[in-house]
């Protein structure tokens, strides 16, 4: 038989329905977009400020997630220890926690009267809520599990014999991790980082709860979109489009760059 007969049609139909399901709301956004007023709606300095803040905080959150998340993924994938399943469940909790509840939890921990925040305030006079740092914290909290899950999956897919080979050649554990595991893990980390960045960019609930909303410091694009929706739905659609275009451009750019490796 020819290669064509191998196409499992039973999979194609649900796949097509799934694609339509995901893309139709986007099509709705494009169809109903107020194209004529678009330049005036998105040209304002407030929007530019919100967009810049979103891009900066999402990138910072992703950077932190990589530094902390890759080691967590390695621990979860490579170390055998009691309570590993529990640890994994706890770490991925932000995935299922409603973001607003996540924001409250962050306040209870890092707020002025929080478990850690109270000490911070007393010792250094630092109060985290309502600062740009709080936005980054909220985004990292919500988005890092995406990176961990993704990287852990990639780690499990790697052939561990390379690690063993390196070890038998006298490489230390850290050397093996840096020069053998990490390079092979590259695409997995990039995929996880992209997912993490996208989630951070769209973060709303935890951010508005923990960091509040103030133009220039904590008002990111999703917050701006929500507030515009209250009295100017057209502006909200326009802003959503901007966020969409920027994320697609960045994601496509990253993929092109990294998949060539």
């Amino acid at each position: 038989m020819s290669g064509r007969a191998r196409v499992p049609y039973a999979l194609l139909a649900p796949a097509a329905i799934g694609v339509a399901f995901l893309l139709l709301p986007l099509a709705g956004l494009l169809i109903r977009a107020p194209w004529q007023q678009l330049p005036s709606l998105i040209g304002s300095s407030e929007v530019r400020t919100a967009l810049r803040l979103s891009l900066e905080t999402a990138s910072a959150a992703t950077a932190i997630a990589i530094v902390l998340g890759v080691p967590i993924a390695w621990v979860l994938a490579r170390l055998e220890f009691r309570g590993r399943a529990v640890l994994r469940a706890l770490i991925t909790l932000p995935l299922v926690l409603p973001p607003v509840a996540g924001g409250i939890a962050l306040l209870l921990a890092y707020g002025r009267r929080g478990v850690v925040g109270g000490t911070l305030l007393k010792a250094f006079g630092v109060s985290l809520p309502f600062t740009t740092a709080a936005v980054i914290v909220a985004e990292t909290f919500v988005a890092m599990p995406f990176l961990i899950v993704s990287v852990e999956g990639s780690l499990r897919g790697l052939d561990r014999r390379f690690d063993h080979a390196a070890a038998t050649l006298g490489a230390s554990r850290l050397f093996t991790f840096r020069h053998v595991t990490l390079p092979m893990l590259g695409p997995g980390i990039v995929a996880g980082a992209v997912l993490c960045w996208a989630r951070a960019l769209g973060e709303f609930g935890a951010t508005i709860t923990f960091a509040g909303s103030y133009p220039g410091t904590t008002e990111t694009m999703p917050l701006r979109v929500y507030l515009e929706l209250q009295d100017n739905p057209d502006a909200a659609i326009a802003l959503s489009l901007v966020l969409l275009v920027v994320s697609v451009a960045v994601l496509a750019g990253l993929r092109d760059r990294w998949l060539r490796l």
């Binding site: 409250i104 707020g111 809520p129 508005i208 509040g212 103030y214 209250q230 100017n232």
Partner: protein, 257 residues
């Protein structure tokens, strides 16, 4: 003769009373509300409308009231998009306007309550905040609603009336978020409604300020055009406007329309 005429008067009155009683009972029987109604109400009405719905169900045993609460604007948007709703109670006339403008309401919305702004502070008012001016002092962290939501619009008006430029630490999405920030101690004060202060009980202290009078919020209610159960919907609106309904609203801190 005198005696005779008074008998006639009594007889006529008796007949009239009987007739009225008869006709009213007939009307009630014909229009006795039954079935289910869906009521969309602003978040700030959650406590009162939950009570009103329960009381209305008790008074009309054949009616079931399903309530849904949210931001007035969100609810209005859902109604204009065809959500199956019978009654809509909004937290501002502007929001109600979006529903009447698109022809999604029956008749003219009726104002059933008013609400005034109040400064909410930590219990006992440790920073001795006495008015709007104190909020603008440095070192006082306070939260307001975003100007695009009804509470924020009212707050902007109040500060304008006081000729003050506020510098809040955050523009929240609704009064509930403002209260949360205050109750968790992240801000020293928050601008909310009198009803919010009342329902928060001992968790916050309210500070009234004169400029609130220039930014009073009105709550209109209306029967939605595509109401599946207009009879029960009308009855519910009448109940909210009745003395019994008003008593519930008043107890929660709302002002009479």
């Amino acid at each position: 003769m005198n005696h005779h005429s008074s008998t006639i008067v009594i007889a006529t009155t008796a007949i009239a009373v009987t007739l009225t009683a008869c006709s009213s009972s007939k009307k009630a029987a014909a229009a006795a509300p039954s079935g289910t109604i869906v009521v969309f109400a602003a978040s700030s009405l959650k406590a009162t409308f939950t009570t009103l719905a329960a009381n209305f169900e008790t008074a009309n045993s054949r009616v079931k009231v399903v309530t849904s609460f949210g931001g007035s604007d969100t609810l209005a948007a859902q109604i204009t998009q065809g959500a199956p709703v019978d009654v809509f109670a909004a937290a501002s006339t502007t929001t109600m306007g979006t529903v009447t403008k698109t022809g999604d309401a029956i008749g003219t919305p009726q104002v059933f309550a008013k609400n005034e702004l109040e400064i909410a502070v930590a219990p006992g008012n440790p920073l001795h905040i006495a008015g709007l001016t104190d909020l603008t002092e440095s070192g006082v962290k306070f939260a307001v609603c975003a100007p695009t939501v009804p509470c924020g619009a009212a707050e902007t008006k109040a500060f304008a009336a006081a000729r003050l430029t506020p510098h809040p630490v955050t523009f929240e999405q609704d009064v509930a978020s403002v209260l949360t920030k205050l109750e968790l101690g992240e801000v020293d004060a928050g601008m909310v409604y009198q009803t919010d202060v009342k329902s928060a009980g001992s968790k916050v202290t309210g500070v009234n300020f004169p400029e609130a009078a220039s930014a009073i919020n009105t709550y209109p209610i209306v029967v939605v055009k595509d109401a599946k159960n207009p009879v029960a919907a009308d009855a519910f609106v009448a109940y909210v406007l009745s003395a019994t309904g008003q008593a519930v609203l008043h107890a929660a801190g709302f002002q009479q329309p």
